[in-house]
Symmetry: C2
Subunit: 313 residues, 2 copies
């Protein structure tokens, strides 16, 4: 089975490594030049749970070189940052064949609509994962722990190939399940990020400090009350109670409490954030359904204003 990773960042390279290890034919695409050069020269250096597992050679291309790729892929993982999904899909258009299944487990909301513009919904496998990963510099995968993922085929005309992919990928330890609850899971995860990512960035605090404010639930509710209405209008069943509890579970310094969310880190490190796929997406969907979302809209704009002030790119 030939697998392409369109995006070889933290999560992409972790899955790529796992599948490569399990004997699959894995190819990478990325846009970070030094990352590409290092992997071309020395292979992907893999450090899992602080153990150096060595270097692994996999073909890697810049996304502008897609015309040089002559193979057909059975599966393409889109594993970019949210805002790079559309440009990446533009770049890999020639590789999207009639039978190519595309897996997307990106964080945030709105990706299915983008994917549908390029891909037959019978070929889109949308999902969500709790696998985590990081890069320890260009060409270096640095990850901890294990995870799992759930996916669902957006239109379910024929699930034969999808079931086979799941079966084979689980041989590589991806802990993948087919789930009819995927949309709820995506929204629950996005909701948690809408709250913790945005507030920690604006308040300038870690997750435990967010939870230490006596009225944190008022802040949480401000976002979730709007989000739940929008989710319902989108036909997705979500539970404010479950989301709130998931958030509270992160406060403990022994779990995620001392962590600064990814959006906080993007902001600090001069990068554009994924806010348009979190609170910004809620505001956009609110407009679509004529549901007032002033809190999410203002929060998204504050984050953009902060990106603008920091000259993030």
């Amino acid at each position: 089975m030939k697998i392409l990773f369109a995006g070889a960042g933290a999560l992409g390279s972790r899955f790529a490594f796992m599948l490569h290890q399990a004997g699959f034919d894995v190819t990478l695409i990325d846009n970070w030049e030094t990352h590409i050069e290092n992997i071309k020269k020395d292979g992907l250096k893999v450090i899992i749970d602080d153990k150096d597992l060595g270097n692994y050679k996999m073909p890697i291309y810049c996304s502008k070189e897609v015309k040089n790729i002559k193979e057909d892929f059975d599966v393409i993982f889109v594993s970019t940052k949210s805002m790079q999904l559309r440009p990446m899909l533009e770049d890999i258009k020639p590789l999207l064949k009639k039978d190519t299944k595309v897996i997307c487990v990106l964080n945030g909301l709105g990706h299915v609509d983008t994917l549908k513009e390029y891909i037959d919904p019978n070929n889109i496998l949308i999902g969500v994962t709790v696998w985590t990963s990081g890069l320890g510099g260009p060409g270096i995968l640095k990850a901890h722990g294990v995870g799992k993922a759930e996916i669902k085929q957006v239109e379910e005309k024929d699930l034969t190939k999808t079931n086979s992919i799941i079966e084979q990928f689980n041989k590589a330890g991806l802990n993948l399940i087919y789930s009819n609850n995927v949309y709820t899971s995506i929204w629950h995860k996005a909701a948690l990020n809408c709250v913790l990512n945005s507030y920690c960035t604006l308040i300038d605090c870690n997750i435990n400090q967010y939870g230490s404010y006596k009225d944190h639930q008022v802040l949480t509710d401000g976002i979730l009350d709007e989000l739940v209405k929008v989710a319902e209008a989108e036909g997705v069943s979500v539970s404010k109670e479950i989301i709130s509890q998931n958030i509270i579970n992160c406060f403990d310094p022994k779990t995620a409490g001392l962590h600064y969310p990814s959006l906080y880190q993007d902001m600090k490190n001069g990068r554009l954030t994924e806010i348009d796929y979190l609170n910004g997406a809620i505001a956009k969907l609110g407009k679509k359904h004529n549901i007032a979302t002033p809190v999410n809209a203002i929060i998204a704009h504050m984050i953009h204003s902060k990106e603008n002030k920091n000259n993030n790119k």
Copy 2:
């Protein structure tokens, strides 16, 4: 005429100095020990427009020593931070006589209600000022430029004494006028602060940087749309257009653009902020009138959460 300044901070000590210079009998009350000690020892050191005007001796007391003050005052200026208004009124209760006029030109909303709990509305002169001032350390007044102020007697049974105060204070150069528009002016100033103080603090930017974000008007509107409805319910006529223009006028680096608003500075310097008299007051009044104010409520809570995280006091 005997005048008491209940609060001898930046603005209080500036007005006290002007009235003292003009020959009025001025007494100070404050709560900052070193400030009090320095003024007791050397007098108030006055630096206006970068010119050292010398030191000026005025009696000064700690607010807990009010029982030692045997005089009656014709006028009391309450010139504390917003959150110290109530405790200060508690402390000076014995000095609030049947004829004592109390002038309050504090920033923010909600002060009239607090004053009314202690003072006959015929004795309350509520107002707003564009005089600015600062302290250059304990015992040191450091101010620039000139200003003006407008006041109005909350209940207007008899304006004789108020008119006489205005006339006499203008001999000291306070540029005081009686205005029936005072509530509009108070709300217009508070509205500007609701926008610039809060957003600059949360976005972590100066006023020019706030204005440099392309959608700053969306952020501004998020606060003002709620504020205007609440003002109307309170019977105060405000203009969103005037407020918006006032805000835009501050963006220019040649005016206030390079300035970090006072709330930003309080937050940075470990002090509690006046947010409950700005966006927090809008949220509180919104509840009273059953008007939804989610944006102002969430912004007030974010500021409080940031105070909590910074352990501000």
